[in-house]
Amino acid sequence: MADVGRHPRIRLLTLAEVTEVAGHVGNFRVTVRQKARFVNEKECTACGECAKVCPQLVPDEFNLGLSLRHAIYQPFPQAIPAAYVLNPADCLGLNPIACGKCARACDKKCINLEDQDRELKFEVGAIIVATGMEPFDPFDKGDFGYGRYANVITAMEFERLASSGGPTGGELLRLSDRRKPASIAFIQCVGSRCAEQGTPYCSNICCMNTIKDALVLKEHYPDMEVKVFYIDLRAFAKGFEEMLWRSKRLGVKYIRGIPGEVEEDGQTANLRLYVENTETGKIENHEVEMVVLATGVRPAKTTEAIKQLLSLQLHPEGFLLEAHPKLQPVDSPIRGVFYAGGAEGPKDIKDSVTQASAAAGRAARLLAQGTLAAEPYTVAVDPAKCRACGACLKVCSYQAFEWEKGKPAKPIEAVCAGCGTCAAECRFDAIEAHQFTDEQILAQIEAALAEEPESKSLVFACHWCSFAAADTAGVARGQYPARQVLIRTMCSGRVAEEFVLKAFALGAPVVLVSGCHFADCHYLNANRHTQRRVERLWDRLEAWGIRPERLQLEWISAAQGQRFVYTMQELEKLRQTVTPEEIEKTKEILRNPPRVAPRPEPKEPGEQPFRCLRCGKEFKLHYIPGKPQERTCPYCESNSVRLLVLKEAAVSASAK
């Protein structure tokens, strides 16, 4: 920490928040608002004379309210910057007439009661988001009597009570009577692995933190009875299992089972825990003098703000979503933005440090290039054709367009990731996706169906997942009938409705659109647009009297070679059901297809009937309007799953 304070190339801005980030990778323009400190951090020697005369006392955040501090204070003895700070909200009044004792007590005259907030602007090439995580607060849920029973504390409160710099000078005391407890229980997974509390995940750190706490206790107080109530003990990393065994050797008791209830004895303020020991199947009760809740972690409250500022995305658990969970774990999906520490997911110090160095390495790699290379798979907008409707920007996961009302959209080459979704979305043919242009793909479709179109199925496959799955199938020598031809696009989002209709118009019996599973999409969520387009095509095909099942949709990951083979086999079965007459009729219809009104969507979330367009079975799935979800047939695992509700509306539209 001290190294940061004195490093010539680090400008440390405390009491500061990023308020705006403009620009893009290589050239982010950052605005920071720094709150007034009221103490000159360079001049202050942290002598503490100011605090001595401060008449105000408030709970000390650093000790979680277990001690008091003054309105002018040092957050903790080793704080960096090593300077006092005045919190105006705690102060009697910054007006020297109201108080001003601190300013008079400071010999060096470092205290300026007229200090103002400042705004700073600077430019950077890369950003590392290290906004962290925060402990779960069991007070919200009233878990295990926390907040009601004085001797039920959280893991963080335990840290402060055990710390020699803490409110008790390192003596572990009960809050009810300031007495050392003779027995103590740790309850694991408080705010972890519990979907009801919104924290379905494992918090990663609490098992080891409890084992560490138990060791600390046994080293200081060998006679203290220490019990740990757990679901599973996750001591998975190097040296962890050994720590667990060491604690067991020192007498720490591990009981598999989470107490259903904690009761306080009104006389002694001891706590009684009722628990089903899942190893013996017996209900037990344990009386202890203190309970520590091994509270998990959740995303910091600031995560949402940084997400908004940088157009990042969140994992369903609320932590920041990485570009790829396996291969780009410290890259955000936004180029030039990297993750370090708990903001990306629960992690301990070692993992945070490791990821921070990795993020620094990734940022340094970017900066070391001197200039920034942008892949040529970007897009060009023809200003003569663009009608400034803004549809491209709406579907762009990267906000890679400069857009002003009434002016042609302007792609930002450095930001564009090259999925081509905008080119598929543009109704005015104004966007060209380099290396995957409309002309090129239409030429491929025509060539594919030039001879005996009735004998093949046309498959659109995305570069990252489904095309890669075809490779995986090949490497494994998975066999399927030689009846399919693949067209590769970078993302399934590039597949325009026009391409599918062109294939049917040229006599294709069956078309498959395939891409990554929702969680794997290499362009954040571009394949949601694929699903939307396929769903709309199903409606249109049906309204025109073309069997919608002739258009299939599958999500196949790069690893799912088997799934690819199976899909190809199923596709061939489907192709055999399409008669030459049907193909001719389709061609006829598509020569002059009538307009089809969009089918109304259900307005409320809830169970809705769906039909699988592969196996034909009907079933119910949860549906949330405006929130596309990956849908899988519970019978055959196909993703060609179509909403059935309001079918009448589509039929009536076709009748018009």
Binding site: H7, A16, L215, S357, T437
Partner: protein, 200 residues
């Protein structure tokens, strides 16, 4: 906007990949078929087109036949696209004037029991690649200036480590922390595992 080259000069190179492709797909027939396609002025087979001699053949043909588009019918583009792009660049061609027909992972390896259909499919894949090649346009990687500075948001253990690494590596760092001090959650910990020492 790209348009079709009026008179493209496309060269097609069909790889045998030892027997990986040639055992199932009749590569000579595929090359013969390629010669019949509009725009194709040259087509040949090769034992291993990706090998050094195989690439030399491509470069030789580019020079001798004055090719302006190259189609390689071989393994998946996920495998050797960078190889062949570099090969074109070396021959003085724009590396993006290349299209690959995947006749190995996507054909010979998955249709071993039906060589005739596999050959037909390989022809289709080559026809598609040639059709796309006619519309390929030269592309250039763009380069943008970079600001040699990094913003680190958050002064906990991760932000501290990232800042020090970057600053030590010579980059300017702006470390923004919301609270009055560095340290984050870490600073509040009494002892830390697995070393059992203090956090700060």
């Amino acid at each position: 906007m790209s348009t079709q080259v009026s008179e493209p000069r496309i060269g097609v190179f069909v790889c045998r990949c030892g027997t990986n492709i040639a055992a199932t797909v009749n590569v000579e027939q595929v090359a013969e078929f390629a010669r019949s396609l509009p725009g194709v002025v040259y087509a040949q087979t090769g034992l291993y087109v990706c090998s050094e001699p195989g690439q030399k053949e491509i470069q030789k043909a580019i020079a001798e036949q004055n090719l302006d588009r190259v189609v390689v019918a071989a393994c998946s583009p996920r495998m050797h696209e960078p190889t062949f792009r570099a090969c074109l660049a070396q021959a003085g061609m724009n590396p993006f004037l290349l299209e690959i027909a995947n006749i190995r992972e996507g054909c010979s390896w998955v249709h071993t029991s039906e060589p005739e259909r596999a050959t037909k499919k390989a022809c289709d894949l080559v026809r598609m690649a040639v059709a796309k090649a006619r519309y390929l346009a030269p592309l250039t990687e763009r380069r943008f200036p970079l600001k040699d500075a990094v913003l680190v948001v958050g002064g906990g253990v991760a932000g501290i480590q990232a800042s020090l690494d970057l600053a030590d590596a010579g980059h300017q760092v702006y470390l923004v922390e919301r609270s009055p001090s560095l340290g984050g959650l870490m600073a509040q910990l009494h002892k830390t595992y697995p070393t059992m020492d203090c956090a700060i």
